[in-house]
Symmetry: C2
Subunit: 418 residues, 2 copies
């Protein structure tokens, strides 16, 4: 069987299962999620053993520490995955909700009902927890899933998929609803890009290289996720103490994630007052500062920032800093360089706060808060399958609700169109 | 200037205008729509004169009657376009609505606000009315628009755009918000496909060839519209008189549109009783019948249907007819061949009605009604920019609400993430 045939086979099986899943009752879905969670814990020896094969391979291939850490599974991490599935079981089932039902003048009753998307293709990188997390969210929303994880995690992903799929099917999820592409050949991804007949959406999760490859090559509709070149703008009317705390949090609390701040914009009127202490604090936290000329003049130990720095998502202990001449310039800078993820203004001025929220184009915009809040859990929406940075379908953290679509249903008594 | 530079220039101008449009007040937008409507009527001599150039060219190029009719503008059609804009002025402004605003445990207040998509690219074929209709809906939802009409309507489209843009800008719409690509070179469309930096969505309106070209080649997110291989299934428990009326309406009331019926499925138990009279009526209305073997045996004057007929959107006085052995076979046939547009069952059986609505996958599903109802106006949603047959973002008739997205807004007092 060719790689293409293998992938098409799995997609077909998922599509077939999706028809049954679409109308599965909530109780069955929830019981399956709980059984999958138990199975993960009960099979921890098997899964951790398979994970060790990936770890060994990773060491041999010289993966860096950060990647090795992402790859690693432990009892505690498996428990976290299991608890993630249990949390999803607690979510409201979005499927079947009817909105806007009304009677038209001719008596035809028309409304919109929430239905699953169908089959969701996930293309992701090192972390094996995505295998369970994504499957749980997809199933809860009545979708089948076709998973393609990173080649470095293939043994772990196979083990996790085998364990949760077995538990799911035993609990009444239609067989075939959970599919993992087991070949690590890149051709498999290319095949997924053209599976419009079977896949309703592709969600890439990973670095900009992966995401751009999917956007540029897929004819299946894509939800773009994750790349975050996030800014915090410190206005001349900011509470500077608050600004310092927010900047420290947005940059250093977890620099490797997409909602961490990458560029700090400071109003020129307060730059001399604000920057020296701020930069010192950041440097004490091991943050490398790359600044424009004004920043270099005001504080020492600053690397010069070039054009590329304004567009870079460092995901690291590095921060670009720019002094700007006012609100409009800050907004223009953000408009030019942001990836429409998360943006914040720190100000005490009512009008500027309101204007920033109105005109800055991003999935999440904040006044006087850390950009780090852009997260399904933090927003009270539950765990997320990704953070959409595009405008179609879903924007910001996506959970079960964003894995659905709608259809119109019409109840007639013989109505015909005049 | 190269074709690429010209297109990019226009897209850039639209993108720049979109920033101003996004926060324009409703009154200004509505007054602009009314001024555009008046301008269309006041400039009818100019527009009709330009349209005559297209008609002359069309005759010389041997366009068929249907295409020539689509191309033609008249005083009455201009008035209809103007009234379309006046109707859009009456719509509620979707922009700015906040939903789900709540206070998180840390005091951060988070909600979702409805915002424009940004810049909408429209690629469409012969009808020049799309130029005004699409522009009106886009502007009402705060979007700029980049239009690419069919080459055969270029003079008409230029005239309409010139007239409405002038009126719009005079009424306070940011200059540049309405852009028409004036080169008829196909390269311009290719350039649009890659304008991810400036275009937020591409909406193709036209035949399957155009739509597939956009889906297969665009890296800009696409909303798929319109192709409708629609079925009506006559159940053995149907009211046959009602079924006849619905079939006649769905096939013959306006066969050239996407929500017209293309295949009739009849339960074998009633085929002998139902089909002869039904087929005669259809034939009397000049409908050519292409049937499977049973249909050919039961009635005369039937052409044999082959595999291709089951997948064809005729958009003409042609109907494929198949006798099937029951509900499940009907649903399977629809699943295999439909384009997820509009599907109907005619039955008196409660359980089958409910099941059909639940399991058939389409933008609109009906019980005991004509598929011809799938339309923004008929659904009470107002005029539409197209009917989405995909599952992401919007499904079914799309009006101003579907031309928006959301962003999360967060009001903080110094919140940082623990």
């Amino acid at each position: 069987m060719s790689i293409k045939e293998k992938v098409v086979d799995k997609a077909q099986a998922a599509s077939q299962a999706a028809r049954g899943l679409a109308n599965l009752d909530t109780t069955t879905k929830n019981e399956a999620l709980l059984a999958m969670a138990d199975a993960l814990e009960d099979s921890s020896d098997f899964i951790l053993n398979e994970n060790q094969k990936d770890m060994k391979q990773g060491r041999e291939n010289g993966l860096n520490d950060a990647l090795m850490d992402r790859l690693l599974l432990t009892e505690a991490r498996l428990e976290k995955m299991a608890n993630g599935l249990r949390e999803v079981a607690q979510f409201d089932d979005p499927i079947g909700e009817v909105t806007g039902m009304k009677k038209r003048p001719n008596g035809l009753q028309i409304g919109k009902v929430k239905v699953p998307l169908g089959v969701i293709g996930m293309i992701y990188e090192a972390r094996p927890n995505v295998t369970a997390d994504a499957t749980g969210l997809c199933l809860k929303a009545g979708n089948a899933v076709l998973l393609r994880g990173g080649s470095e995690a293939i043994n772990s992903n196979q083990a996790v998929t085998e364990v949760i799929a077995k538990a799911a099917y035993k609990s009444g999820i239609p067989t075939g609803a959970i599919q993992l592409i087991e070949t690590t050949d890149r051709e498999a991804v290319q095949v997924m890009f053209e599976l419009n007949e079977y896949l309703d959406v592709l969600i890439p999760r990973g670095g900009p290289g992966l995401i751009n490859a999917v956007i540029n090559n897929s004819t299946v509709p894509v939800i773009e996720t994750g790349v975050g070149n996030c800014h915090t703008y410190i206005d001349n009317e900011a509470d500077q103490e608050m600004a310092q705390e927010i900047v420290m949090n947005a940059k250093t609390q977890r620099p490797g994630v997409c909602n961490a701040m990458e560029t700090l914009l400071v109003h020129s009127e307060i730059a001399e007052d604000f920057l020296p202490e701020m930069v010192t604090k950041l440097q004490e936290a091991d943050v490398e500062i790359r600044g424009d000329e004004t920043v270099q003049r005001l504080v020492s130990g600053v690397q010069p920032a070039d054009e590329e720095d304004w567009s870079t998502e460092y995901l690291d202990y590095i921060l670009a800093v720019k002094v700007i001449d006012g609100f409009e310039e800050a907004v223009d800078h953000i408009h030019q360089y942001n990836t429409k993820h998360s943006e914040a203004i720190i100000t005490d001025n009512y009008h500027k706060a309101r204007k920033f929220l109105n005109i800055v184009d991003a999935a999440a915009v904040y006044v006087n808060a850390s950009t780090r809040f852009t997260d399904g859990g933090q927003f009270g929406l539950g765990s997320e399958i990704g953070i959409s940075t595009q405008k179609l379908h879903a924007r910001g953290p996506m959970s079960v609700n964003e894995l659905t679509t709608t259809k119109f249903v019409g109840y007639g008594d013989g109505q015909i169109r005049e």
